[in-house]
Amino acid sequence: MSCKFDQEIIQRYIDNDIDPLELIFLKEHIKYCADCKREVELLTITDQKLFNVCNDIDLPFDLDFLAEKVMKQCDEEKKNRSGVSSAMYKGAIISKGIAISLSNYIKFIPGTRLISKGINASTEFIGKNTKTFFKNKIEKVFADLI
């Protein structure tokens, strides 16, 4: 097509999104330009055919069976999952029981209490000294600033 007319105006006309002024301009133009007139006709037909293809669709007769099939499938899946999660839940309870029993048992192993006391004392000692160290440092920094 040799015409330099803005094709986007024709596209906007097809979309029913054209300015009133552009519409007047287009209508005047296609009175004299056979190429653009043909473009408008062809695009109008194309537009119509696209609409038909996307909307004139026959529905299959067994469409409602699909919903039933899916619900059945989802139901079965849910039952399987609840079986697995129930097994996992029971396993977790058993593990917890074992852990509690173990921790109670450990208390009676000779030396455990001594070790635990020692660890607590060391932690307290380190904590106190660290706190004092940093407190002194911060006080010094502020003193220097003043």
Partner: protein
């Protein structure tokens, strides 16, 4: 399409009847959307099945204060875009299927304008063939415009594309189709 909020609330409580009611309300809409995209029955049903399952699994994530239709549309669109089409169903008959010949016989019997009828069939076949050759996103732009009637802004937002790209894609698709149809019309 307006869905009763109580149906959705029941779905969230896993009420099977509520799900059936919801699917029943949406089955035509979903089928036509999927069919427009894949242009064959089997793939459409496959996609619909996936959409139903996604709705079932994700209904609790839906905020009942928001409109339902855009939510289900987004699920359907994303499922279509992610769907790998099965080749065996992906054939468009060039010589016309038995349904078309039967329709032609009925048309002959009805004594209507045969030439016009055949021309329409050819035009629509060409449109379907051309849709088939497009990329998934281009095809979806067409569907959202011609089936859903969405504006360019809405399409751009849904497909996460720039507005300019959406317009250009649609214009190009229309032009390509127009050039194909020019030989017949």
């Amino acid at each position: 399409m307006n869905v009763d909020i109580n149906v959705i609330k029941k779905c969230k409580k896993n009420d099977k009847n509520a799900f059936m009611e919801l699917f029943k309300q949406y089955e035509r809409y979903l089928y036509k959307l999927c069919y427009s995209y894949v242009q064959n029955e089997q793939d459409s049903l496959d996609i619909m099945q996936e959409v139903y399952i996604k709705i079932f699994k994700n209904i609790n994530k839906f905020d009942t204060n928001m409109p339902f239709h855009p939510w289900i549309r987004r699920i359907a669109v994303n499922t279509c875009l992610n769907h790998k089409r099965s080749l065996k169903y992906n054939t468009i008959s060039l010589s016309g299927g038995s349904d078309e010949y039967q329709a032609l016989e009925e048309q002959l019997a009805a004594d209507t304008d045969i030439e016009q009828y055949i021309e329409n069939m050819d035009l629509e076949r060409i449109v379907k063939q051309q849709l088939d050759t497009m990329s998934p996103k281009h095809r979806m732009v067409i569907i959202l415009r011609y089936y859903e009637g969405l504006s360019y802004d809405e399409i751009a937002e849904m497909l996460e594309l720039p507005l300019g790209t959406v317009k250009t894609d649609l214009y190009r698709a229309r032009n390509a189709l127009k050039n194909k149809l020019a030989g017949i019309v």
